[in-house]
Amino acid sequence: MSERCGFQSEDLSAYLDGELSEAEVQVVEAHLSDCECCRRSLEALRRTRALVLSLPSTSPPPEFREDLREALRAAGAPKHSRGVRSRGGGWHRGLALVAASILVVLLPMAALVSTMMVPTEDQFPLLAADPPPGEMGIMETAPEISTEEAADPPRDVEEIVASETYIIRVDDVEIATPQARSALLDGGGEVLGLTRTYDAAGYLNKAVLVGDLPRDAILEMGERAQQIGILVERRREETSYGDPGTRTEVILSLEKMEHVVPPADGDELVRAEALRRPGALGERIRRSFSGSWTRFGAGVATALVWIAGHLPHLAFAVGAIILVFAVSRRGTRSAPPKK
């Protein structure tokens, strides 16, 4: 019975579109000459296609371009805030905006303020919690934090927004800590978000860090993780968060360890505890970074100093940016296209 003639119907559709190779066309045509069922299917497909093709083209209303121009004006020129400002983005865009803005506002402030202060272990418990140089690898390259280093922005904001970025999402407690955050920052990336979940007993059992990372850096990170045998999965997803176009999301799933770290005193404590545990994943990651990632050392430490030292500014910056964001959104919405 023809209903089970076994022929790939999708080839009929592609045949219609001229999307088959010459050899495939010959197969289809040979089959069509034998199979009444497929001839009829082809005809039905042809008619369906022709009906759609016959639909008249519609045009945007005359005021479309003027409305768009107004909306673009309200959204601002991209060169002042590239890639982060637009109407109606999702959380992702909001975070990107906040992150980029923090950098814009924070870095000059950090440069100013840091000339007046010298980081100490008291001020930066995070640094104090770090193991001595040599033990954990990463600090080997940055045994000393100088004021000058703290004053220098590790990278230019313009460079971040213009760089070809990928997203890294690391689903692991130990990786999704300031360690990875710093790695992202130093690699020219941008941290978009960090979420943690806790189990019923109050123990941290999952953390997801989302950030942008240049392609090469993420490839390197994946290679490293594989080399030291903690890479569970590496996949690439084209993901849209209702965002412009798509983003390539590279997801590295790394080996998980037993989670016994209480979420008591915030990120730094969690990180410090995790990294102290002998043989812990965190340590291995640190070691792995210390090899080909040596360049991270100074930058990582510098970034941490800033983050720790300028939390008030950060809070201020976040507030200011959210305000700006809200206003810009409202501005866009207040100029709706005419009905």
Binding site: E10, A14, E19, C37, T48, T58, S59, K79, V84, S86
Partner: protein, 203 residues
């Protein structure tokens, strides 16, 4: 001025360059949105969103696909977002086997469709076709619109939808098969001299 140059200028903040790109593409993007969403108001909003998003993320345009493909991708996302927001509450199952349980694609396609080449289509039929497209699951709608309205190649469609070439082929077939069924189900064409398709039991 060629498109690459326009895109580069627009990236550097030249608004007129971007406006030139808008002028080039607004018709296509609007038409696509219109056929995806089924009404002028949503189409206008989606098209506007598309260009706003494109503008704000020009610096993320890496040039590894063509600008038009990139723009279509944004437009596709804008339309799907719009459909989600509109919250029709309809649950569609993408690429579900048609009408059969065992996963085997039902092979019979309806024969009772008008041949558009027989006669000029009247507005009633056009409306029915547009409605039938609007009644398809969003992903089927998208692929039909991209192929038969925007006339993209399979390769371009694969880039816009971010799927494999083979998926384009099979999804397009499924979408067309589904569309031909809904068109036939409208029974709009039976009295038009096209005649009901023979219920084929063999072939």
């Amino acid at each position: 001025m060629d498109e690459d140059r326009l895109v580069a200028l627009a990236r550097s903040g030249e608004v007129p360059a971007f406006e030139a790109l808008v002028a080039e593409y607004e018709g296509r993007i609007y038409n696509m949105s219109y056929r995806m969403l089924g009404n002028a108001e949503d189409a206008r909003d989606a098209a506007q969103d598309t260009f706003l998003k494109a503008y704000s993320s020009l610096d993320r345009f890496r040039g590894d696909s063509s600008f038009s493909t990139w723009l279509y991708r944004i437009a596709k996302n804008a339309c799907l977002d719009m459909l989600r927001k509109r919250g029709r509450g309809t649950v569609y199952s993408l690429d579900e086997p048609l009408g059969t349980e065992d996963g085997e694609m039902e092979r019979q396609l309806p024969g009772d469709l008008p041949d558009p080449e027989d006669a000029a289509l009247d507005s009633e039929i056009r409306e029915a076709v547009a409605d039938a497209i609007a009644g398809l699951p969003p992903h089927h709608r998208a692929i039909i619109v991209l192929r038969d309205i925007e006339e993209l190649t399979y390769e371009e469609i694969a880039e816009v939808l971010e799927v494999e070439l083979g998926t384009v082929k099979s999804r397009l077939y499924r979408a067309r098969a589904a569309l031909s069924r809904s068109l036939a189900a409208l029974e709009l064409f039976r009295d038009r001299g096209v005649g009901p398709g023979e219920r084929r039991e063999q072939g």
